[in-house]
């Protein structure tokens, strides 16, 4: 039943000054790319992708941006939160050689995808893009699973100076990938989609969510596709027909906000 299960946070780990991972006991089978609705009692309930997956323990990794994420950031071990999900479809690893591109906070969910893919003996190349070195996280976790890792920062404080998409374009021109998976700022994903041309593509979209179970209509894109239900991961064929992709999202009132 889609009712929040109240559980205790069992471990919190700071990834950098603004990013934190929380672990909680949650045995539901979960696939990378899926998300939970996380209820912080008295504050809000917000969507969060899974970033850590074992049989009994799941984790989320988030950036402190407003009230709800600040409250989560300050959560102490043993504090109670409500969790429902997992929701959405998740990534499909079709292919033997996959390029992963994570930008900004999108890195959070990318890491569990890379971990799941490499366990299936898929050759993974990963680009992590951030504004600067101090906003990066999860480099070690990704290296540990045997993926080839490239870093880009806008200011050049670590790795290649420039955008993740610039490096992606170079790698794509030299290598043959069966699939490109991405999560990050939508402008970045749109650019990457254009670069990919005919290479199979999957992107994880973010939209304002309320119900998370497909009935309130808050999160729709294109011709009534619900990001919480038919997404959040959409393939290239579908994205081609979503006119909103990379153009606008909607706020809590349903007003359009251009990217």
């Amino acid at each position: 039943m889609n009712y929040p299960k109240v559980t205790k946070m069992i471990e919190g780990k700071k990834e950098n000054s603004d990013v934190k991972t929380l672990l909680f006991e949650y045995p539901e089978k979960t696939h990378s790319g899926q998300f939970f609705m996380i209820w912080i009692p008295g504050v809000d309930e917000i969507p969060m992708s899974v970033s850590y997956i074992t049989k009994n323990v799941k984790g989320i990794t988030f950036r402190k941006v407003g009230d709800a994420t600040k409250a989560l950031f300050n959560l102490k071990e043993g504090d109670k939160i409500g969790i429902r999900g997992p929701y959405g479809n998740g990534f499909k690893f079709n292919g033997k050689k996959i390029l992963f591109v994570g930008g900004g906070t999108g890195i959070a969910m990318m890491v569990s995808a890379v971990e799941q893919a490499t366990k299936k003996n898929i050759s993974a190349t990963v680009i992590l893009g951030a504004k600067s070195k101090k906003e990066l996280f999860f480099e070690d976790r990704i290296k540990k699973c045997g993926a080839e890792v490239h870093i880009t920062t806008d200011d050049g404080s670590q790795g290649h100076k420039g955008f993740a998409t610039d490096l992606a374009e170079k790698l794509i021109s030299k290598n043959k990938y069966d699939l490109v998976l991405t999560c990050g700022p939508e402008i970045m994903m749109k650019k990457l989609f254009e670069i990919c041309g005919n290479i199979p593509f999957q992107a994880s979209l973010e939209r304002y969510m309320k119900c998370g179970i497909g009935i309130c209509g808050q999160c729709t894109v294109g011709k009534g596709l619900r990001v919480c239900e038919e997404g959040p991961v959409f393939d290239g064929k579908t994205l081609k027909n979503i006119e909103d992709f990379g153009v606008f999202k909607r706020d809590a009132a349903g007003r359009k906000i251009r990217f």
């Binding site: 119900c211 009935i215 209509g217 894109v221 011709k223 619900r226």
Partner: protein, 279 residues
Amino acid sequence: MDEDAGSMERIFNCGAGAIVTKSIGLEPREGYPNPTVIELEHGILNAMGLPNPGIGEFGDELKKLKKSKIPIIGSIFGANSKEFVELAKKMQSYGADALELNMSCPHAKGYGLEIGSDTELVRKITSKVKEATEIPVFVKISPNLMNIADIAKSAEKGNADGIVAINTVKAMKIDLELKMPVLANKIGGYSGKAIKPIGVRCVYDIYKNVNIPVIGVGGITTGEDALEYIMAGASAIQIGSAIYYRNLDAFKKICDEIEIWMRDHGYKNISELVGVAHT
């Protein structure tokens, strides 16, 4: 769903005969904070708080739809007759085929049920909207009332073209672990399977008391549920929560199930069944 053109088109293509829009007000509203929707054992509890982009921006969605010839029932909510009239005129000018006056939302302060429980106000708002517009006007009423038949009669006196019943049933869920209501607004409206018998009773009472068509809504998940409402007196039905229980196929499946039942029981025309439970 039904807050944007794409969603309305998709639902129509799934087999709905017409689309009722989300309730739209004059100004944009974000609605209540989350949690706004949870599933309970036998239904769905929500306190969305009437989120909507405001009639101005919503107009763009409707205009986009107009080319597709989808019958649209524009749902509106206002705090008084002046607001209802302004919204009604705008909905009509954007191309809505009919109007639904939301006088029944159980959890929005100053709107909905707070207006829809006053017989004189219901009559006045309905008649003002009727005077100002040319398209059919339906009044959606609440089950959270002792005088539901009187409210329906007031709408009829105001020249309403039909009554829609029911909106959600006022309800609450408290979490035992946290010892607090789950919804941020604490109180919400209950929909889905659990409220069907309540809706059927309301439609039955309204049908007995008015001479205008009744549109039945509340917990309709199968063709059999729809037929029950029709026998109670509904000439048409609406579907909300069944989208959750049966996904978007709900529309087509419910239509098919009605047809199969009619064929098995030797009925050709559904109008033969409207209100048969009253004899």
